[in-house]
Amino acid sequence: MNNRLVCFKAGAGSALRSAVGSAVVEVVIMAAMLAFVVFPVFSTVMERYILLDKARLIRDSVDMTNISVYNALNTERLGKVSVDFFDEKAGDIFRELLCRNLKLDSGLIPRSDSVAEAQVEILSLTFYKEGFPVVCPDGSTIKRPAVHSCVNIPIRPSLYRGVILNLLGRDHIDVIVHVDSEIPVNN
């Protein structure tokens, strides 16, 4: 009788130890999943979403800027069914509107509320007036009068900024936005 009681107690203790051990293992596995799977995956998805959102914002700004170049059309030539731009005026309009829409100063240096984190660079700005179809420097085919612009906007990541920039060995990430906008010549 005593032997059977001892055996029962030993069996119950072993089962309890096993249950407690398994619960601890589950908690450890959950903590590991959180630390090594859930948080990194969430951070990556969130960071990517924010970067894409910033890129969309910049693309919209550059597109609105491109379209404003309409005001540099040579209207006299337009009346003779020929599209021509006053190139200097077009360049000035582009620069002014880019500064306003991306919140930059006249030297293309970002103000405090700008999406850019360092000096913005206009890599290319071309006005296509004739000889269509033409291929822009970034490979898009243009079939109508259009403005091609390519702008480099340095931005920084939002989450784990220091870690990502250290890994890349850079101060910022260069977002190169290329936009071709057709000019509505007949309103």
Partner: protein, 125 residues
């Protein structure tokens, strides 16, 4: 065995709460994208029409209200000649109910803003 079931249950609850917490981070970002898209459409119409008329203003207001914005402020010129700058400035409060703690949900409000400038191309006003 009941101990294991309890632990599994607690872990599941925590994981689901975390998942909900993470997903709800995207709600204001999505609302900002909606605001930007609606305002961009209005700005393109402004550029073409030489300003934001009352119909367009009401349409923008309704669109933003439908997207969940309140206290909307819209500032834009109603009339501009060709070559004049047109700025659309829109602000609104976006409120959403989010998980702030395990089993605790609270209303959060964030002020969002859109400001872009274009140049009027309407020749005759």
């Amino acid at each position: 065995m009941p101990a294991r079931a309890v632990v599994t249950g607690v872990i599941l609850v925590i994981m689901i709460s975390l998942l909900v917490y993470f997903i709800e981070f995207f709600l204001p970002l999505s609302a900002k994208a909606d605001l930007d898209i609606a305002c961009r459409d209005s700005l393109l119409r402004m550029e073409n029409g030489g300003g934001l008329d009352n119909d367009d203003r009401s349409e923008l207001q309704e669109e933003l209200e439908a997207a969940g914005f309140t206290n909307i402020v819209i500032n834009a010129a109603a009339n501009a000649r060709q070559g004049e700058l047109l700025t659309l400035h829109v602000e609104g409060d976006y409120s959403w109910n989010r998980l702030t703690d395990l089993f605790v949900r609270e209303d959060q409000v964030i002020r969002m803003m859109y400001e872009k400038t274009t140049m009027s191309r309407k020749v005759v006003n």
